[in-house]
């Protein structure tokens, strides 16, 4: 229990966490870039958010610093609020153009 790091955490080296959250983040990016369905894009954004949350929690645990965990709670609350607003926008988009294809939303240009 030296430095206050729990044994279960010590078993898994920090690189694993890093690689996992990087993977999740990249999957999120790729999803945002290549998918045309707004809902999937939205989900990919959430995935990226959670990848960073995961990283924050992991480091918090390694450094025995609770601040980052509090941060993560905040970030989750914000994400929930953001999801509520985002989904509402998506619903409105669908009502207006009867589609949730991102390519259809190209009127704001030049």
């Amino acid at each position: 229990m030296e430095n206050g790091i729990s044994t279960i955490t010590q078993i898994i080296p920090p690189n694993f966490y890093l690689i996992l959250s990087s993977l999740l983040f990249c999957i999120g990016i790729i999803g945002v870039l290549i998918r045309r369905n707004i809902i999937v894009v939205f989900m990919s954004i959430e995935l990226m958010l959670n990848a960073s949350n995961l990283l924050m929690v992991a480091f918090s645990s390694y450094r025995s610093d609770g601040a980052a965990q509090v941060f993560v709670f905040f970030s989750m609350v914000v994400a929930a609020a953001e999801v509520a607003v985002g989904l509402a926008i998506i619903v409105m988009i669908y009502r207006n153009i009867h589609s949730i294809d991102i390519k259809e939303l190209s009127k704001l240009k030049w």
Binding site: V32, K107, L108, K109, W110
Partner: protein, 635 residues
């Protein structure tokens, strides 16, 4: 006593403010009364001050109003010096000025800008008083510029006429050239002596040796200033053109007072000039050349005011000649008598022009003697005075100048006498053409001919008396007088007189001979003019006729204006044109427009990036972040 001095200055300024602000509201009579009344009050106060100085009750130290500029070692108080020299100028300015103000009430009666006219005249009187009353060079310079401004405003008084505006601009620009010289002189004085107060500067200048090179430059620069204001070669061409202004203005500003500012300035700084013999040589030569050239031009002019204008230039040349040979008091004396008779000549010419309903060409005049008797008699008096017929005032002043010149250099004297001869000739040519033989104008003008009202003739009569009697205050010792005027100025010229004491002393016999010669020459010249223009009744040739070479040259003022046009104005215009076409149009315009065009071009293309495609935006964002991350990594 101090308040008195300030009131002399403030009264005309008050008149300027009242007439200037109320130009449209104040009635004509009131504007005239305010305009002349303030100057009259100043005149009375000046006489009181003069009396105080004679009796020694007025201190001759400067009266300081307040400290105007204070920075480091530089300290310039707004202070006034009323001593023997400046009080003399003050009396001339306010006295002659008052008469001209009164005359203007009659002359400008019909003019719509009556109130404005009087406010300008009062402003001029104020500036001119400032010029002569200042106790340091900076206050003098304010007045110097102030009179230049008023001169500009009054030459272009009838601003709807474009030619008059051009004349005004010409006068202003020519004066600026001179003013630059004056300003450089002031800078140099400060640099050398560390002060600008007259008393301190002259005290220090006295210590320098004669021919000192700094003094040479100072005096040369000051003289350049004087040539601009006092219309000497090479900057004299503005004065004849300045005749565009109303005639009383020509009398006040361009004959009696403003143009004598240069002479006042040199007499004021006489010690510095005395110690710079080289500058003195230049002054006498420039003065003589100006006197002769202008007199030659005056002989063949056909515009009554132009003749008088060139005559003024010529007489100013005489004054500079006197200054150049060290005859400071003679120059001041001639300045004073000239103020009387030249103001009289101009006012007489104004009366003639008034009678002729605006006609100025002497070829259309003639025979005015019986229609305008008072004008004729006064004009005749002035002609006798300017020609130097004893005992008129011009005789004494001109004779004193000639005596000084002879004592200094007999060759200059010969030319000066030739100038005096020409003066008499052109004045009597003018007199015979205007007042004698038959009337040559149109019938309409003939029916309108009349003597001017009293408000105009009374100033003429007063000036005529002054022109006649003005010389008696300085009857030379050789004629049994006391040379009172000369001794009056002695305290001012003390230091210079000490250096000149050995020369300038002619025997009485020599003076009699000189007087006799100049009187003979002048009388002969008058008789010649009488023979030519009265007995034989010759007319000045019209423009179209084939004129002899000399007449054509002088009629066209030796083409000096054209030469200046070709040498200075044209190149400046060409240079300006070059700047416009090449530097401005091709350089600056292209640069400025190029910057604008490139912004328009690049933004026109850059906005195409905004495709409206969300996926593209996202891609750009991610790509950007990656670039930033990579950049951080490399760094």
């Amino acid at each position: 006593m101090n308040q008195l001095i300030i009131f002399i200055l403030l009264l005309p300024f008050l008149g300027f403010i009242i007439n200037g602000l109320g130009a449209k509201k104040i009635s004509r009579n009131l504007a005239g009364i305010i305009g002349s009344g303030t100057v009259l009050a100043s005149f009375i106060l000046s006489v009181v001050a003069f009396n105080g100085i004679l009796q020694g009750s007025l201190p001759s130290s400067p009266v300081s109003l307040f400290t105007w500029i204070e920075a480091g070692n530089l300290r310039i108080p707004f202070s006034f010096l009323v001593d023997r020299l400046s009080v003399l100028m003050m009396m001339i300015i306010t006295g002659v000025g008052f008469l001209i103000h009164v005359y203007s009430i009659g002359y400008m009666k019909e003019d719509e800008g009556f109130g404005k006219y009087f406010s300008y005249l009062n402003l001029f009187t104020f500036s001119m008083l400032l010029l002569v009353m200042g106790s340091n060079f900076v206050v003098m310079f304010i007045g110097w510029e102030g009179v230049g401004l008023c001169s500009y405003l009054l030459i272009g008084f009838w601003f709807k006429n474009n030619a008059y505006n051009n004349a005004a601009s010409k006068a202003f620009i020519m004066n600026r050239i001179g003013d630059l010289g004056f300003l450089l002189g002031i800078f140099l004085i400060y640099h050398t002596f560390g002060t600008l107060e007259y008393s301190a500067v002259f005290e220090k200048a006295k210590m320098l040796p004669s021919g000192d090179s700094t003094l040479l430059w100072i005096t040369l620069f000051l003289f350049i200033g004087a040539t601009g204001k006092s219309a000497q070669i090479p900057l004299y061409t503005w004065l004849p053109d300045a005749m565009a202004g109303p005639t009383p203005v020509s009398a006040l500003i361009h004959a009696a007072t403003m143009v004598t500012a240069g002479i006042y300035m040199i007499v004021r700084s006489n010690i510095m000039f005395t110690l710079a013999p080289f500058t003195m040589g230049i002054i006498s030569i420039v003065g003589l050349l100006t006197a002769l050239t202008a007199a030659l031009i005056a002989i063949s002019q056909t515009d009554i005011k132009k003749v008088l204008a060139y005559s003024t230039v010529s007489q100013l040349g005489y004054m500079f000649l006197a200054l150049g040979v060290g005859g400071y008091s003679a120059a001041m004396f001639h300045l004073m008598t000239h103020a009387f008779f030249k103001a009289l000549l101009f006012l007489g010419a104004g009366s003639v022009i008034h009678a002729m309903s605006g006609e100025q060409d002497i070829r259309n005049m003639g025979g005015l003697k019986k229609y305008t008797p008072i004008t004729f008699i006064t004009f005749f008096t002035a002609c006798l005075a300017i020609s130097g017929i004893p005992p008129f005032s011009g005789f004494f002043s001109k004779d004193e100048i000639l005596a000084h010149v002879y004592a200094s250099n007999p060759i200059l004297w010969i030319f000066a006498v030739i100038g005096a001869m020409m003066t008499a000739f052109y004045m009597f040519r003018l007199l015979y053409l205007v007042f004698y033989r038959d009337f040559k104008g149109s019938d309409k003008q003939l029916s309108h001919l009349h003597e001017s009202p009293y408000v105009m003739t009374i100033p003429l009569i007063v000036l005529a008396i002054l022109s006649f009697a003005g010389g008696f205050i300085n009857i030379p010792e050789s004629l049994g007088g006391t040379a009172a005027f000369k001794h009056y100025l002695d305290p001012i010229l003390e230091a210079s007189n000490q250096m000149h004491s050995s020369i300038n002393e002619l025997s009485h016999q020599a003076e009699y001979v000189l007087m006799a010669i100049s009187i003979c020459v002048v009388v002969l010249s008058i008789l010649f003019a009488r023979q030519k223009y009265y007995v034989r009744g010759e007319e000045p040739a019209m423009e179209k006729e084939n004129l002899p070479m000399m007449v054509r040259l002088t009629r066209n003022k030796f083409y000096i204006d054209e030469i200046y046009e070709a040498l200075v104005v044209k190149p400046i215009h060409l240079f300006g044109d070059f700047l416009l076409r090449v530097i401005e149009k091709l350089g600056i315009d292209r640069l400025v427009n190029g910057i604008g065009n490139s912004v328009i071009f690049s933004s026109k293309n850059a906005r195409l990036l905004q495709t409206g495609n969300t996926g593209f935006y996202l891609f750009a964002m991610v790509f950007g972040i990656i670039i930033i991350l990579l950049f951080n990594l490399i760094r």
